[in-house]
Subunit: 333 residues, 4 copies
């Protein structure tokens, strides 16, 4: 059973079905009816007017957002363990034309106003130092931790005070919202977020993420950048269809809850082994190499995070009956 | 009936079916079994060892290839009417970090050794002028013209003599090969092509093109660039599945032949109106604004190319019965 | 005697002397008293508040200006024969991160509202085409032609109407102003120019040009870009000193008049050979290879412009007695 | 008396005189006799064939070198306190088109094979992580510490083993060599350095640094990049003249020794206050805000490095009589 990454999970049947339903003639690129409906559909979800663009990857969503928020000669503050820093092969630098990621600290890969302020205050305000232009936070974080609305709002307030744009990497935004039980608006624009990478692929989608601009005037340049990056797929209706299928009937929340539930089951079995509180669908455990080997011998696959640490990721399609054998195996290590 | 663009056509049922068949658990990115099989499958097709990467758009394929062939301070020779020059919003400049497109002439958007040489010889060889590093030709061209193997080979020979890389934009490569009836190898690596953007989307695919490196040492850096551009989709198996479905049983040739056949029917009806010989699936006609309006009034949609000129593009899914009404309408204008 | 380029001329003694006078202790970069005086000094000259930055080359001035006026995904309209297109090795693409130069026509390398409009109107306003963001004109042009204030104003009006920034490459701005006899203001900001590359090096300077922002809010980002490009020299006072020495007593006009006078002498001798009206310090002549060889045999050095065409450039330090022998030689060819 | 930065010091009279001597007619850019003599002159100094380019700033030298050693998708390992990381406003990212600086540790801003290895071994070798392509070390470092030949050689060996290029930022290379008393060759190419930014400006020059390629095949692309960056000054002979004047009679060593001597005098007076061993011309001291104020009240200017720390930099033109009053003031704090 695979707990390696939610990227490995299959696509939700509703998403596949939507592709079939979209399989008629329509205009190319994003001129089709499905693509054109995205703004309205996401505006409804977020209870405010937004501009919503499909893109084929989370890296693309993140980096288009950063390019919209930060000039080439600027900097983006993020956590030292952020995906944009460690796992995108320099995509932020490519899309922003060389902006600098400025690394701040924080427990569980969460930034706080205090850790951000410490970093900002260390940067001399002159032409010799790259000056910060934006903040990027990840919700849920790389350690499966979730920012609550008030936490985001505190960062949003700081961003506003310092004149910085605020981006949220929401590759697992659905898991965060499912955990919080709040409106998606509460943890985004109401808390000061300007742009959101809203992930669907890990959560049952196939090849479409949504890039949401709450600060809508950022979108015009981004439409040019999306094309210029080879990201304006010529049959865009098949991406829009995926997103719409995930929104229909709040499927995105349903699948995220399923994945979170699985992680909670594992967390319950892990006891003292837990390295981080489990708030989304990732579980980090202390486990010796020998223990890890024993789990693998039982057919469970997962990621060796660091020395003596393993990462388990649950997916939307894993039912309790898929999870419990691993929970048992952990409990009896 | 839509003759606006082959991008507007639906996806072939075999491609949709392949997505369903791929819908099981596998490794993320391009580590899955389907993605791993691409090199072998395309090597078989091209009768030589190639490296084959899926990418989600033709612009991405083109520009990754150009970045592999040309440094930021170099130039790429292409036709004045090339897609990379006119229709990709500066994507070549983005991916190459500012290389310059150098525009050459040629009938039907085809370059020739003579027109290339004229351009090359006009460039002083000093540090003040951008120096050419690569050639890019399009087969079939923006005007639906096809380079025969000998024509490509003559350009390939020139490229070799001048120390230039050679890229082929094959957004409609299938249509070109279907027209030529040759081996795909004859019009690519055997003729000196280093990298090919092998288009499938216009020809029945959904969201996957293949970037083929005949000069395989170009691929390693490209793997990094693909990731860095946000093009390494996390569920890559669904892109690989599309390409494999198109290769199975030479479906790609079958669909291309269908589109070409439709264009030939239109060409036959067009007589003196034809602006370019019809060799692929595009038909350019002289038509006054009034004539265009009359065609549209009959329900035919198409692109106004230039003053007094219209472009008709046929698609893989259009049978003769879909084409003949337009052919009739043209004949009786 | 050298008529190859005004770049080959020596430095004016007043500039050298100014370096010696600046040779005391002061703050590094541009914090010194001389650098700090530039804004005021150039504001006086231009009769309006400007921001003035020293840079060590005309290419640097041009490309910092273009980067301030055009985003990476945009385009800059310039003449087909512009220095930024042909002689800067892609520096505009480097500084703008891949913006596209869009080439317009015009006699004597001069753009006109008509030629600009023809180009602009050919660009479809969609995300597939690079959209223009700025115009760049050269005064005096590559053919030694001068835009009069009314000509610039007509272009400035067009730029405003179309929402485009306007840059003037003034590598030989001094020669243009000397020819026009107008206020520098008349041919720049009063005519709609946003940024000017004000050349001094060809005109008696050593290694300092001035980048003048009439639209002053463009300067802040440019200060970052200047540093980021390695152009913020650490002993900037020696660059400021050069500029100030050239401004003192209108030395820049005196040297430009001297060069223009030399060119006029040559033009007078050239008669029917003249390819362009001589308005600055460049003279383009019809001359066969044999005639060119005969001039060279007499000790005159110059540039072979094109087949059967030569370019003669006069310099600030050439007195009539240096020019007349060449004038005689031309007259007696 | 100014101990703020050696960038504030005046230019050596021999350099000024050389400008006057160069003030004759010659070819533009780097085609003049002086520029052409640089390769030979620096080859002699380094006892091997090198390619030597003048550039107008240390940032330019550093970043051209890094662009030659690292592709846009790669990384450059440097010290956390390196000038390229902290003081060049993202110039490395600009010149390399977005390569990532990878920060390693080390006492006195010196990298060691151990600290480099720790960093390298933490980087997973896959397409998700930026892969290192080069190392950059600074000699003397930001804390005035000097790498001895054996220390560089150990790093050079590691670089070779790992397939990394090796750059040395030698903004104060002269001070390092003066301290070491070795041949410049010993601490550069004999120890594995591929490219050196050889600083002259802080050491008595005006506006010329030398970029030295020991791995000469890196130079060809760099000539294009230098032009493309606006760094190919049109009257290059005045930069070459400065470098040649500094090399004549080993003036560069003489001036560096003078600056080092001054720093040694201060170090001798500082006793327990010293934060770093003084090996070049920088002295870092513990000093309370009150103590710093008292020194300033006596007319000494310097940089507040960090809380409770000050930085004093001595310059080539400061004689012991200029230094001793500060030494006394420190001793009697």
């Amino acid at each position: 059973m695979r707990f390696f990454s939610d990227n490995a999970a299959p696509v939700h049947p509703a998403v596949l079905a939507a592709l079939g339903n979209a399989n008629t003639l329509d205009t190319a690129y994003d001129g089709d009816a499905l693509s054109k409906s995205l703004d309205a559909r996401f505006s409804e979800l977020f209870e405010t007017e937004v501009t919503a663009l499909w893109v084929p990857s989370g890296t693309a969503a993140n980096c288009l957002a950063l390019a919209a928020l930060c000039p080439p000669y600027g900097g983006v503050v993020c956590h030292r363990d952020a995906h944009i820093q460690n796992d995108e092969c320099g995509a932020p630098e490519f899309y922003t034309h060389g902006a600098k990621l400025m690394l701040a600290e924080g427990e569980g890969a969460k930034l706080t106003p205090a850790t951000i302020t410490t970093l900002l205050d260390s940067i001399a305000n002159d032409v010799h130092r790259v000056q910060p232009h934006a903040l990027s936070i990840t919700n849920a974080t790389e350690y499966g931790r979730v920012y609550a609305p008030a936490e985001v709002a505190a960062i949003g307030e700081l961003a506003k005070t310092r004149g910085l744009g605020l981006h949220m990497d929401g590759a697992r935004f659905a898991n965060a919202v499912a955990h919080l039980g709040c409106s998606p608006a509460d943890v985004t624009w109401r808390a000061g977020v300007d742009a959101l990478s809203f992930g669907f692929i890990k959560n049952g989608g196939m090849s479409a993420e949504a890039l949401i601009f709450f600060k809508r005037d950022l979108a015009a340049a981004t439409l040019m950048r999306r094309k210029r990056a080879g990201l304006l797929l010529s049959k865009g209706r098949y991406l829009a269809a995926q997103l719409l299928a995930m929104l229909d009937g709040d499927l995105w929340l349903e699948t995220a809850r399923a994945a979170n539930t699985g992680a909670a089951l594992l967390a319950g079995a892990a006891g003292e082994r837990l390295l981080h509180p489990v708030e989304a669908n990732e579980v980090f455990l202390r486990a010796t190499a020998d223990e890890a080997a024993r789990l693998r011998a039982k057919g469970f696959d997962f990621y060796d995070w660091a020395d003596g640490e393993i990462r388990l990721v649950t997916s939307w399609d894993q039912q309790p009956e898929h999870i419990l054998p691993l929970a048992d195996a952990i409990a009896t290590l």
